[in-house]
Amino acid sequence: MSTATEDRIDFYPTHEADGIRFRRGRPLPFGATIVPNGVNFSVFSSSADSCTLVLFNKHEPRPFAEIEFPREFRIGDVYSMIVFDLDYETLEYGYRFSGPWDPAAGLRFDKTKILSDPYARVLGGRDVWREQPDWNDIYQHRARLSFDDFDWEGDTALEIPTKDLIIYEAHVRGFTADPSSKVSAPGTFAGLREKIPYLKSLGVNCLELLPIYEFDEWENNRRHPETGELLLNYWGYSTVGFFAPKAGYAATGRLGMQVDELKNLIKELHRAGIEVMLDVVFNHTAEGDQRGPYISYRGIDNRTYYILTPEGYYYNFSGCGNTLNCNHPVVRNMVLDCLRYWASEYHIDGFRFDLASILGRDQNGAPLSNPPLLESLAYDPVLSKCKLIAEAWDAGGLYQVGSFPAYGRWAEWNGKYRDSVRKFIKGELGMVGEISNRIQGSPDLYWYRGPTASLNFLTCHDGFTLRDMVSYNGKHNEANGEWNNDGANDNNSWNCGWEGESTDPGVNALRRQQMRNAATLLFLSRGVPMLLMGDEMGHTQGGNNNSYCHDNAVSWLDWRNVEKEKELLRFFTKLLAFRHAHPVLRGNRFFEHRDYVGSGKPDIGFHGTRVGQPDWGGASTVLAYLLCGKHATPQDNDIYIAINMYWDGLPFQVPPASDGKSWRVAINTSMRSPEDIYDSAGGPRVDSAEVIVGGRSIMVLVA
């Protein structure tokens, strides 16, 4: 008896047309799946009249076959077909849907358009970054097949406890595109891989990548009216296909091998102990509003994929033309399928959801109290160890920091952390009470969730870099070609006395000190810290706080700063090591403000310039606190932190250390390198009962 795998009836075709042999397929899974002897194509549309599979050879302008799905190949609203004898490597496929044109009813079928598969795992058409596309091509974003047989060997997601994460937010292209990166393939996954040793030595253990789903860098491209600079969709917050990696980010994209190249990067990052988190954009697609192109969703099932007004126009809660209808059961399943695919096939460790509040809106756009999509993601068996982080607001006015539906799983980008710490650092009054909450992991916001719900950050891709935060009072976005009207205005930044680059040594010294202050607060706070790519080496965007369109030196990391800013880089590296070395800084639980281990002092105790006398008043710019190491797991040193955001130096009375030990200076941001930071066990001993903390500076002692 021969083996069953060669013998099944459904391994052979039943139909033939145009020389193509095919048979009825299976409705699930959606997408194109390689099956014995052929490929199973399956696609959903609730209101089409018919569907045609369109087959191309790679890069050919015209299809080599078009096969209409016979009536008996449709089950419910799903069209499926197995096609035989295809070359998996050179095949490109799409669909034509015919159905009513009735925009007021939300129906926009157009049989002249060839549409991408919403489940396409590889997309061609923008194979090489910034290579001019053929605008006359009848099929711009071409679905291809993926082997999905990568040899991961022993690799799996790292599952680093959330409390121990240090996240580094980076743009794949911007990280190494500049020639100063000296990598063999600048601006690609492969180039990033060459910088893994740098990330490891810096001490980050989670790399969060700006969108890497296929997008079109040419979307809305234009020339700057004055400079003539080509402006592109550089950030990529505009998804063409949710299941396909950005081909132009792969050195091997030209060969269609972006899947392997990305997986190899992830495997190598995992080997270095670094998790990979994806910034995912499920709030809208690249199809824009009614004036936008037909890429996929609009022509397949417009009413299902988008939230439409009663007149059939697109709601724009994303600020990008349309809004994905995330709580439609079919779309919800697509999002779930997508994330499961990335978690299982790419070993992704976590996801950060752009404008995540949209994911909690119903099919009319109203916020839901118990959004099924967010609940499904929180309880999904495949995603159960993935970190889920929400950008807890949207462009439609929903702001949910502290109230995002969490199901005990979701963390949030803590926008309040950023805003209040920035204000405090620049010396605003009345911030001390607020700051005490922020450094504790924001118990006022997340009392029901714990401190790991708070993703702490001071800077991210969207806004000033750290260096610009201390160098500019206002944004300088003229290079974006929108007369400085774009980008946020509430930056809470302070230029230290001069707007922009300065040659004044006093100004520059203060700026460096302010950067050290910001970093120290960020990495000593409870919660999950996130660092923006390049902040550790003083990356500047020249005051541009919205660099989304700049595929150039404005955005690209200048690696010469590793040498130029080596003192700052040293400070960051030691600061991250300090956080890793001290479990008392990272807990899963909030402080209880009492002694529950019998150490003789509470887990956290607040002080002012006098022991036991914190000044919570509206004129105060001073706060000190002591973290008791005996309350940490495992037990740790005591850490005392004295923050002086007053402009002049102040004497701080130091509380006694446990067990008669002496305090040692770990960090003093008012000092220049190398006396600004010491190894994790501390540097010089403090023998006096009082220390002078310099103006606008922080002193950290360990014992």
């Binding site: 040899d151 492969a190 060969l255 495997k267 190598e268």
Partner: protein, 110 residues
């Protein structure tokens, strides 16, 4: 795609010429099948391979897995700089032993 297979002292040498891609990889695999059934040491000479696609790389990895599963060995010879770069970017390179010449490959297999 041309393929010439020879065998001496239990070591097989397969010289490939042309493109190794989705069309030719299954043919190469088929032609190597009888040899692999009887031997476990293989040198693949790619000196005259001008193009190695994703499916071609997968064939190499399949051969590697098949041979190493039987405690056999596979050595690649004549991998061009371009192909080596692609193999490095995509992670395939990690699996293979590379040699500069067939003679060197034979030594490493001896």
């Amino acid at each position: 795609m041309n393929l010439a297979i020879s065998e001496a002292n239990g070591i097989g040498t397969a010289r490939l010429e042309g493109s190794l891609d989705g069309k030719t990889a299954p043919e190469v695999r088929e032609q190597l099948r009888p040899f692999l059934a009887a031997n476990s040491k293989l040198i693949l000479d790619l000196t005259k391979v001008d193009y190695l696609s994703s499916a071609g790389l997968r064939l190499l990895l399949l051969l590697y897995r098949e041979l190493s599963g039987r405690k056999g060995q596979l050595v690649l010879v004549g991998v061009s700089e371009d192909i080596r770069t692609v193999m490095s970017h995509t992670g395939f390179l990690n699996f293979f032993t590379l040699a500069n010449s067939e003679a060197e490959a034979k030594q490493s297999l001896a």
